[in-house]
């Protein structure tokens, strides 16, 4: 499942997508993210029939992604690799902006 967390508003689209089929719940993103965006939960809240743990975006952060991720994303062309994307071995995480 592609779980898109975030929002779109007048200024743009701010979504973090977690591909739940690729996530093995290793927790590396939780450790790596300076803004505590991720959390590993015991079961998929969007699929009650699935009992595998996985990473989700913390509820309280969903509406603030533009600001929370700001420090990782300096403006300009040569944007450094994002810590969350870099540590995820399964390449489960992507950002829309």
């Amino acid at each position: 499942m592609l779980a898109n967390y975030g929002y779109s508003d007048g200024s743009g689209n701010y979504f973090i997508t977690i591909d739940t089929d690729k996530c093995n719940a290793c927790g590396a993103c939780v450790e790596a993210c300076p803004a505590q965006i991720f959390q590993v939960v015991d079961e998929d809240p969007n699929d009650p029939m699935n009992e595998e743990p996985l990473a989700i975006v913390v509820a309280g952060k969903k509406k603030k992604l533009k600001y929370e991720c700001g420090p990782c994303k300096p403006s300009g062309d040569n944007r450094p690799a994002l810590p969350c994307v870099m540590v995820c071995e399964g390449c489960a995480i992507s950002h829309s902006w």
Partner: protein, 295 residues
Amino acid sequence: MSEEKRPEFWRWAETNWVNPDIRWEDAQFITLGIDVGSVSSQAVIMADGKMYAYGNMRTGSDSPNSARNALKFALGKTTLTEVKISYCIGTGYGRVNVPMADRTVTEIACHARGANFFYGPKVRTVLDVGGQDIKAIRCDEKGKVTNFLMNDKCAAGTGRGMEVFSDLLSVPIGEVGERSYQVEKEPPAVSSTCVVYAKSEATGLLRKGLSTNEVLAAYCSAMADRIYSLLERVGVEPEFAITGGMAKNRGVVGRLTKKMGLEPLKTSWDTQLAGAAGAALFGYALCQKSKGKGK
């Protein structure tokens, strides 16, 4: 000053129903789904996965009471009592405050499951426009979610936005859709669906001489644009279905489906019930699963 009561243009009818063809006494599992949304709350009772009864009403000031009231309303026309219910799942914005819930499930999962039940297994894209959020969901033939997003940052493009608007123009909410088509020429969409901006923009348009119907058309079309851009993010795959209160608004749905080039599937069920129905179905599936384990 006269205290004349202003009519409530946004108010829609609350309903409850029982299926006369089902005897709950014959069911192995009676499951309950309660969807407490920001604007409306529904309780759906299923007997072995079949629709038995429901209640659909406005959400009150607190979630626990809204859940209790919706259940009471659903039980109203039945001989069933709460103790006979095997499993209850809470969903929706107020799901953590459903006192009788054995478990909570997100509205994303419940809406996909509910749409699969109401519209059949060919549904692949489900749009739910609720009171305060817009959900775009893709699912497989079993109603399992494959891709979703939910925009709940602001009321733009949502049911609440439409309520504010109908009240501002003194047009009953049920008439917005029809009246938005009673225009000679489709006006350009208002530039923003943001409730605050749209309000002042509407007042400006009225002052400029646009008719109420034209302003409604301009607003419905802005909502359709906004919803379309969110749908594009998850991708649209036919068949397509719309649940939630906005599905009843032809003014928005008509303009949206024209943009998409797809007709939405039809159902005789009240589309506001999809979330609660999905929750009741998950309850049934979980009951069967635990029985399978010999629990």
